[in-house]
Amino acid sequence: MMLFKLALKNIKKSVRDYSIFFFTLVIAVSLLYMFNSLDAQQAMMEIEGSKSATIEMLTKILSYVSVFVSIVFGMLIIFSNTFLIKRRKQEIGLYQLLGMKRRKVLTIIALESVIVGMGSYGVGLLTGIFLSQFMSMVTAYMFRVDLSIYHFIFSFEAFKTTTFNFFVIFGIVIILNSLTLSRFKLIDLFNARKKNQNITNRPKFISILVFLLSISLIAYAYYKLFHGGITVSSASIAMLVSGAVGTFLLFYSVATFFTIVTKRNPKLYYNKLNCFVFKQISSKIRTNVLSTTVVNLLLLLTIGILSLSLAIIDSFNSDMEGINLTDVSFTNYNLSSTFMTDITTHPLFVENVYEYVDYKIYEADINFTEIMLEDVMEKYTDDFDTMILEQSKNNTPNVLKYSDYKRIIEVQGGEARTLEKGEFLIICNAQFTYKYINDFYSTKPNIILNGVNLKAESSILEEVSLKNSVSKDVTGVIVVNDDVVNGLVILNESIISNFKEDIDEEMDQLLYDSFHNINDNRYLVITSYSTDEAAISTSVTLMFVGLYLGLTFAITSATVLAIGQLTDISDNKERYTILRQLGTENKLINKALFSQIAIVFLLPLSIAIIHSYVGILKFTSIIEMLLKVNMIGSVIKTAGFIVLIYGGYLYMTYMSTKKIININD
């Protein structure tokens, strides 16, 4: 009991030190709870069927992600705890000097951790429960469903996951603590505070060499990124290793580089507090190379994950617009001869459909190489372009009869183009092939199809969809007058139909059950309902996983920096006291403090922005193969997120360090 009292007193005494540890734990616990509480949030919404299946799947995905998130937070907690112990070494040494047994000292420290841990677990859980009430609004919005009448929700699943992960992390922290402390010698504990700050200047030329080396390593990583670095290969390992090492060396050498540059300008260097500020900054960068690198990589992950997932959600949703213009489509890929009667005479079909169109897709008798001129293909030299073009070289394009085309457009409610005799047009809406086909078609070319000489109807591609789909998937269909297709091979046939009433969950299921397998003939049934659901489920999954990871990485990186700054500034408080004794105005001192913190925060961020810019360039070019990407919108959203979280931490760090240095005023 005595030990418990002592532990409690110790916490009170070093409440500021503990507050960082405490808040880190609270945030970890509340995030874990929030993102695992989806199953309970569901109770508040009118969700059933496929949406609840999505939630079930999402819950599972998020619980896997939680393991990863817990590992990240676990490392952060160990990091902040190490700082805490370092600051209290002398006190721990004193206990031992006064004759307390080592075991007892360890018990005190463990007790302190347990008290703070329990407190933060409780507060974190309450915060998580509170915030999850609001989060259900976001969830409802994302699922495009209405919130039913509000009632308090508590997720037992989330509680279980959070508790389990928390106690695993926490157990590891306590064990690590005892291990580190029991290895210390008394003399080391006492000398811990007397830090020997050796400001050894590294030789200039070595720093410049390292700087140049780091730049070339990063450049090499960028080169690899564009040359096979994103496939699982030795190239990707080379990219990751040289990128990480290059970044590390950049931070390692940048301080000396910075000093050299600033010293070159004595007017600036010896102005007001500048020489103090510059020295502070360069010593901060120099002593925190590893943590700056880690923070940089975490930020890179944050920016990358968030901006790409937002961009994919955005383009996925806009891609879905205008492609599901009919209610249900049925496709016969296996060329079953009874397709038409199987579908159109089915009572469900007869009863509910008020209009439908059937059409056949034929195979052209020429391949892409023969149609498209060699020089169009040679225009693309990027590795992905060449790969795609190389693979589709011998593919044959699809052909559609003009009369079918007209009826399809009609049932979709659009306006069909007119095709004169001896003309052809191309339908293409897939991002995947659009640019190649467009390059070809925009020259108003002539082709010979099935022995008939045809000329392009115009230079503008027709961008419509044919049947229901989850994406724009018409990679290029040649439309010709009906007589031209005579004798061409049929590839598949489809029926597209409009129903008397909107398709709902029940009808969707009924249609699938009735049509996907008729007498062992398998047909593809796609309803507008199911495509909407697929879009929502993809968006929601990406959004939640992106936000969960983004928040985790952003908070972790900002906390690492905040802890570093808070401990550093309270350890070196006397520097600011000296400045005040010299008669420096508070305004100047605060400005110096702010510049120091701002640079420590912004240095890894700026490098992360450069890295992610290059990374996003590459990934966008890949996504653009499949989807039209609007990167700007998602980058702005990501920037807002970073400013909010990271900027918030910067501001809080500044405010609390300002308090620390003004404490003796």
Binding site: I199, Y270, N271, L273, Q280, R575, I578, T584
Partner: protein
Amino acid sequence: MVNGVTKIYNGIEVRKMEILKIKNIEKYYGSKNNVTKAIDDLSLSVKEGEYVAIMGASGSGKTTLLNCISTIDKVTGGNIFIKSKDITKLRKNDITKFRREELGFLFQDFNLLDTLTGYENIALALSINGIKHGQISQLIGDVSQVLGIESVLNKYPYQMSGGQKQRVSAARAVVTKPSLILADEPTGALDSKSARELLTVFSKLNKEMKSTILMVTHDAFTASYVDRVIFIKDGKIFSEISKGDKGRKQFFNEIIDVVTLLGGELNDVI
């Protein structure tokens, strides 16, 4: 209001201004029921170019007095004039400006910034006064010659000896040409050789650069280097002796006599 006194130096009349004038100051600590009088109705004055030491046992109020003069602490009552300006009436922002322009500080533990070289430490005192880079190197060159610290200007504090650190710290204090230099146990952390060197340098500063120095010490040897020693006991002036034309040894013996009279801890300083 200029309180001048007239002195005869080699037959020439020189008006010496009072740099520091303390009038009936009091400093109380504690609550209403339990008041500790750290300084109790104390008055003294220091003239331009004077080299004065304040001696007293620990708890006598000498450090409190220094803190009040240096505007780090506030008096409970009375007035302190520095160059005829009442610093007890200054506002917070003016205090900072006043401290920067009129006062120089020396501390027992040097208080140098460990991240800056000797040169940069001195330069900082100038640059926060708005002095431009061109002038800075000139001023530092002059002062480091007087103090003999040219060789350590490019070293960091951890590369210097205690004596060197204190001389750099002295250079920082005098380089801004303050009206008054306040030194708090400047030899406290030095060995006797370094202490002697430092005190010689102080005398030089006082003679050559006409610096006015007020030093707080409990060490009779250190005090024997100054012109005048003021003894404090229980927050009041106990006695005061001047060196005059006496030699340092004789002055030292006189100081010891007073110390013996004072009794207490000061006995162990010899």
